[in-house]
Amino acid sequence: MHKSHVKEPRVHLVKRDALAWWKAWIIRILAVVAALVVCGVITLLVTGKNPISVYTTMIDGCFGTSRRAWNLVQNLAVLLCISLAVTPAFKMKFWNIGAEGQVLMGCLATAACMILFGNRLSNGMLFILMIASSIIVAAVWALIPAIFRAKWNTNETLFTLMMNYIAIQIVSYFTYIWSVPKGSGQIGLINSGTQAGWMPSVGGYDYLINIIIVAVLTIVIQIYLRNTKHGYEISVVGESQNTARYIGISVPKVIIRTMLLSGALCGIAGLIIVSGTDHTLTKTIVGGRGFTAIMVSWMAKFNPVSMILTSFIIVFLQKGASEISTIYGLNSSFSDILTGIIIFFIIGCEFFINYSIRINKKGEDE
């Protein structure tokens, strides 16, 4: 008998068939718990405080007062909006990491309307102009890489990444042009006297209108992706471009259409940020949320309703960690470390949902 000298590996991986959804969620919850334990240990090492009290501080920082809770919901709405925007493109496996720049261009368009036409048009006209221009400008910003991808297969990840920094410099240029006082490089509150172009508060609640817009968008995108022909075409292109071509879907058309949609939604996010929340324009106004949104969308497996949960986790961490840093005198970047760790665990745990690990018994023949 010929004896094989090839070393048999101790473990091997088996791709699972679909895992029951509740088992998948148990794995995800375990991953989050593990991540929280690791974060707790790191917090303990850095602050020397009891992790339980640190987490209590975080919860207090997020929900301690009704103002804080409202602030959390409002932040969640903005992040969720950007996450919704990137989702259709991702489902198509179009790696648009340019949401940061697209949102920023939406912010720029909104701010431009508010500054240039703020006191010349009626508020109704101004809003129509703001909505139209923010959507169009952001959609065009997304369209540029989409066209090159569709026509010449230009690498969209790197293209959209570069478009972010071009957008940042364009905004930076305009912050000097419109700065108050001249040359300071800062715009400050736009139309602070007349509040022209500021989203009105509904029923005495500031930001309520933002939240309503995003809630509606969540439902619309959920239906669009799951129950429409467009949504179906997006998932076919995402699964296999060859299959898509075979069943007669025009891949370039789907790519361009979907990126226009992604860009338009980014424009709405920009509108919400400038008109609905900050009422100003700086080059850091998006604050990395264009990148965070990518992770939110991925962790939710591109499901708009699950994104409410994943964006909540991120916003909770950021608000909570900023509370910790205020109380214990730490640097606010602490939240970035915690966010990073949690995301590592969540994206890592998908492996255990998709694969099972079998240990090979010694001396076992086939």
Binding site: F291, G329, S335, D336, E350, F351
Partner: protein
């Protein structure tokens, strides 16, 4: 004037050269590591932490440990970042883009957090921390460079890390072109299934290339803090250079020797606004987008021309699962 401009351009270019050489090695193995900006932050801050504890634990700062300790800390820090990326994308088969972006968030957070903490420990009044003694050793250049006029200034006035960057780029370029290791690595990036069939251990190559790439990129952060910024760590001071390094990879068409030249071009574009006469603050901002616009143009140009060897590794950004061939 021109000499001074070129000299500044080279100094601006060196961190980008480290970053892009590291990223080229990584991308050649098929891993698109968008965590490079975070890794460069970690490389910088780990060097600063090493230097800080060495400077504060001894009374006389000696040259050899003053260089070796930050260097070792920096390499170790960026190695750990590279291992996190590999473990998630290669072993756990996670999505490369998402992992990379998370790594950048994490790394930038670590840089700014520990930078801020050191500032607090040092009870500094300024929002920055200064390692003058260590930095002086890092910045030491050839003593006779000043005496050689423009030639000395242009070619000999830099510190050892700057020359190391160029040497590393040349060596990596040689390895890619002339050795089996380089050939195998490129095979893994072009078509991992074929490489696997030829008996190449795909995962081992991906791990090694990504970790070595991370360590080289981390040195860019160290160079920036210790040399370019004179040992001053200020939060967010490193800025967007990490992304610029990724842009440089495209500009250099995935060739390390081309990125030596490219880094000087990018460095020059980065500071060009200082040398253009009579422009306002606002126009300066438009000048600063030049490196990114140039990168986009290169990206468009190579894809329209569609010549195979300038498009980058074919399997870039895709995880490899042997079972899913």
């Amino acid at each position: 004037m021109l000499i001074a401009f070129l000299q500044r351009a080279v100094m601006q270019g060196i961190p980008l050269l480290y970053g892009s050489t590291g990223e080229i090695i990584t991308e050649r193995s098929g891993n698109l590591n968008l965590g490079i900006p975070g890794i460069m932050y970690v490389g910088g801050i780990c060097g600063v932490i090493g230097a800080f504890f060495y400077e504060s634990s001894v009374s006389i700062v000696r040259p050899l440990p003053a260089i070796l300790i930050p260097l070792a800390c920096s390499l170790l820090g960026s190695l750990i970042m590279g291992l996190i990326y590999c473990f998630l994308t290669v072993t756990l088969r996670a999505n490369q883009n998402v992992t990379g972006l998370a790594l950048t968030t994490f790394g930038t957070g670590i840089g700014n957090f520990f930078g801020g903490s050191l500032i607090k420990i040092a009870k500094s009044d300024m929002p920055s921390i200064t390692m003058t003694a260590t930095s002086n050793y890092f910045r030491a250049s050839l003593p006779f460079a000043d005496k050689l006029g423009w030639f000395g200034k242009l070619f000999l006035s830099y510190s050892f890390l700057a020359y190391a960057a160029i040497i590393i780029a040349v060596v990596v370029s040689y390895i890619f072109k002339r050795t089996w290791t380089g050939l195998h690595l490129r095979a893994v990036g072009e078509n991992p299934a074929t490489a696997d069939a030829a008996g190449i251990n795909v995962n081992r190559y991906k791990y090694r290339a990504t970790c070595i790439g991370s360590m080289i990129a981390g040195l860019g952060g160290l160079y920036y803090v210790m040399d370019y910024a004179n040992g001053v760590w200020s939060n967010d001071g490193f800025g967007d250079r990490g992304w610029l390094a990724i842009a440089l990879v495209i500009f250099a068409l995935w060739r390390p020797n081309a990125s030596i030249f490219g880094s000087i071009v990018f460095g020059g574009l980065f500071i060009a606004y200082n040398y253009v006469a009579n422009i306002g603050m606002s126009t300066q901002e438009l000048f600063k987008m030049a490196p990114y616009v140039v990168t986009v143009l290169v990206l468009i140009f190579v894809s329209v021309r569609n010549k195979k060897d300038s498009l980058g590794p074919a399997a870039l950004g895709q995880s490899y699962f042997r079972e899913e061939r």
